[in-house]
Symmetry: C2
Subunit: 375 residues, 2 copies
């Protein structure tokens, strides 16, 4: 019962945060992120990180990316493949280089410096997706570029992290892993083209309560698990699951129902969980580091995205949307930071510092996006 | 990710079990219960009990009872209050007396004998509710009697368990607790009459995705938590939450959505979890005890219910429905058995024995109900 109380508190606080956010005109997701800070250990201490919330928030981000896939426009994604890849690659190189040189300048070891770069190289698409959905921008040109770039970015970040971990101790075979990951994408293609449509056709004659929704969830979870098994982020799997189902005529039968399931339960828990690791103890003395890092974290994604957008003849505001869409770090960076803490690459003080920077960038991103939508 | 794999296995297995059950003509819930045995430690060992599954299945049973409340006919419940109470009281006295004398005859201590009686006194309404829903019988006369009786039964069982635990060591104040529980029912009445309708009216003008569904969930969880806090079963809280919302005009806006949320995720996990504790190791030598206990468990609920039904001029088949509706033990008995194991009132062998008997009675019950529906 104890954890059901925590879940109830999260859901209630999320509803209130969303209502207040709308009233004062800030993106709802910012309110929902702040919930984690307010009810978490940093302030009220009503809710603490635990395994159940962790699993529920994992399901939340999987479903969020699944919805992004369901709502994405596949033709636009293909059309904007080139700018997407360019946004992704520059959005990885610039922060990696910047944080590497900055931390080297501060006297950190090469290892740690690369790690800092990695933390800020990975975009977290989830918050951006939420903002795009809130303002109905998922199916636009800029939405397609951001989605494509964020997925490519996740793939890049995961590959870099794999290489980094492999060269830092654990001796897994990188070559083999990359081949397996390529095979995974071949399998995703087969899923999209043949398997998923075939499965939906197969159950058409079966009588079963909400059969299409359950099949959609099973496909989503299965591909997420598979993505995780080949060493990628699980949300890559769920995004492509959504994309595959989005291509079929069954998308109308499941989209609203998956939204219902996700937004009434799992996604609020995910958003609240992002800020749960936050503690402010003794962080005031690190304020200047935190502010510099946050500024760099924001700019190192915003500027490359903006210029790629301008290069492909998007308007200033549209380019700002593209750049702003890449700023948020969220769960991806938090996972990398946790890997670093576990591997003793960073201290627990640095950990708190980085978590605050990640969350600040995640809170700033929606404001940039909202500003860019003012056309 | 590990637990998401287990959840995916449960959901997939539940779908297959339901399809197979329908094909061979057995109640779907029996198939879903067998899932726990097949994929659990007793056979394939793919899924094991853990805290996450425990919380999800707890949410599952809360939502199941919430749905029962939503779909229940309040007027019928009031109309059949007398037969309901009589079914509940005889359905507690007969098994308690029977198991007490039987186990005393086998040479058990008074304490243990009372405990055996308690285990089989508590009806588990969840399985019955599921069967009633599957065959569209929730809103019938017999459905109302079963629902009323099962809720009264749960209240009785919880009170008896409280007394039993209090007189067996822990020195909580029984008198105070009963007063608090009575106050809880007063509060439930206020909720139904004023609070719940007022809350729904309050949010009518708010713009929020699926606001009615979220409010319904929050009310359901809050009353479940409160019921638990006053020492009752949480499902009492969710049942009355459902009943309260079922009285408002908003029931049509939430019922299907709560069903969707529940049946695509939480309820299958709950059903599969019931049989997860089962292990067959060395149970063959206890076969005769298990069979005798199972027969008694079934008959000691079936017969009182049947005769009360006949006494109130119900047909033979209808009376069989009423009796059969009380047979299933499920999670309530499992909780009591666990309390007994923790308090060292029973051994771990007896624990396994009782768990098997509880699950057998839970699997037999839907067959009796299905047979009684053949008119």
């Amino acid at each position: 019962m104890h954890i059901i109380i925590q879940i109830t508190i999260i859901l209630l606080a999320s509803v209130l945060a969303t209502l207040i956010s709308k009233r004062i005109g800030i993106p709802a997701v910012v309110g929902q992120l702040l919930v984690g800070i307010i009810i978490g250990p940093a302030m009220l201490g009503l809710v603490h990180q635990n395994q159940v919330l962790h699993v529920l928030s994992e399901i939340g981000v999987i479903l969020l990316m699944f919805l992004a896939g369901l709502e994405a426009n596949f033709d636009l994604l293909k059309k904007y493949l080139k700018p997407s890849l360019l946004v992704a690659i520059t959005g990885v190189i610039v922060p990696m280089a910047l944080f590497y040189f900055l931390t080297r300048l501060f006297g950190f070891q090469i290892n740690t410096a690369i790690f800092y770069g990695l933390v800020f190289a990975a975009t977290s698409i989830s918050i951006t997706v939420e903002v795009l959905q809130e303002y109905n921008r998922v199916k636009t040109d800029t939405g397609a570029i951001i989605l494509g770039a964020a997925v490519a970015d996740d793939v890049l970040a995961v590959l870099l992290l794999s290489v980094f971990i492999a060269t830092n101790g654990s001796s897994s075979n990188i070559g083999l892993q990359i081949i397996i990951q390529l095979l995974f994408f071949v399998f995703l293609f087969i899923c999209m083209k043949y398997l998923v449509p075939a499965l939906f056709k197969l159950i058409e004659k079966v009588h079963f309560f909400e059969k299409y929704t359950i099949l959609a969830i099973l496909i989503c979870f299965s591909l997420s698990i598979l993505a995780d098994k080949v060493g990628m982020s699980s949300i890559i799997g769920s995004f492509f699951a959504g994309l595959a189902i989005g291509q079929t005529s069954f998308v109308d039968k499941v989209e609203h129902k998956i939204s219902l399931l996700s937004y009434t339960f799992f996604i609020p828990i995910f958003f609240a969980s992002i800020a749960l690791p936050l503690k402010f103890d003794g962080m005031m003395s690190h304020l200047h580091t935190i502010l510099i890092f946050t500024a760099l974290a924001v700019l190192s994604k915003l500027i490359p995205g903006y210029f790629v957008g301008r290069g492909f003849n998007f308007s200033k505001l549209e380019s700002l949307t593209i750049g702003g869409g890449m700023v948020s770090r969220g769960e991806m960076a938090l996972i990398i930071v946790q890997v670093g803490l576990a591997a003793k690459i960073i201290s627990s003080t640095t950990y708190s510092e980085l978590v605050i920077v990640v969350i600040l960038s995640t809170i700033i991103a929606p404001f940039i996006l909202k500003y860019s939508f003012k056309d």
